[in-house]
Symmetry: C2
Subunit: 159 residues, 2 copies
DNA sequence: TATTGTTATACTCTATAACTATA
DNA sequence: TATAGTTATAGAGTATAACAATA
């Protein structure tokens, strides 16, 4: 019983620590978490209309406008015309943006190794499997909450 | 090599999912993450001066003023005089605040169980041990970055 | 009519600096 | 002099709603 609580508590602790570590690695570039997240997706997707980024980041279109404004002003991305849709703009990584993301990818790989340094192959495999199981349960919870959220809110509002 | 990457990537995914799930559970109460965090600490510490809360949450005193303002306006906490130091105010949970935190504690326990539901006792124990190892490495990284951060920033600024 | 992106507006979290009242 | 909390100011992230240009 207390063992289960420990897993969640450890995950919450790790959540905080990971964010601190990521924030530290951004400091040197002047980037923030939200802006880096956008760059990271852009590297994965290639040049994209803002609408695609809004969907990928699960964030409003207005929010993307602001993030791209800031990233454009600091030289990490550029806006260009969409080849076929004149309503849309294509956001692309600049050379600086691409270089920054490459460096971040290296740091990501280093952190991956450091996190499990000293653990045996089999322990790492077990850990990965356990995390996959936890992630699967969380995915189910979050997805199902989409439909339950409204019902719950109504329930409590009436009580 | 790719196994290590999987552990970090899983943790990052879980980080996002956990925050979504927590946000969902706040929705019903009208609380936000930052305000709930304050209430959670208050429940642990008991009635506290704002300065103690600033230290516990690792956040500026100004920030605490804003959070307590909002929580006071919505009835979750109350401000009272400090018995011996007339400069300080004592922040305490109201009956609503205490009731809300009790409910949240129950949800926390339920989530703990759901996360590892279906896993055997020994798997859960292994998972907890693996997470403890990862957390330990992260703690070391974040602590050491405190002194390294300045040096790294200088390095990159010069290159 | 529907979609893309922007302007307008607003709220939350966060920080630093200056100031007041007390220690 | 130092500390607790507030006011003043600022910036980042987020959201909804109204609007223009284009599909």
């Amino acid at each position: 019983m207390s063992a289960e609580i420990t897993v969640l508590d450890r995950l919450l602790e790790i959540t905080v620590l990971l964010q601190q570590d990521l924030a530290r690695s951004f400091e040197a570039t002047g980037l923030t978490l939200a802006r880096t997240h956008l760059l990271w997706e852009l590297r994965r997707l290639g040049p994209s209309p803002q609408q695609s980024l809004a969907t990928a980041l699960k964030v409003s279109a207005r929010n993307i406008t602001g993030l791209v404004d800031a990233l454009e002003a600091t030289g990490f991305v550029s806006r260009g015309p969409h080849p076929t849709d004149r309503r849309a703009t294509l956001v692309a990584l600049t050379e600086l943006g691409a270089r920054t993301m490459s460096a971040m990818e290296v740091e990501h790989a280093q952190l991956s190794e450091q996190l499990v340094a000293g653990l045996s192959e089999s322990h790492v495999a077990q850990l990965a499997a356990g995390l996959e199981a936890v992630a699967e349960r969380l995915r189910t919870l979050v997805e199902s909450s989409g439909s339950e959220a409204a019902a719950k809110a109504n329930q409590r509002a009436q009580s």
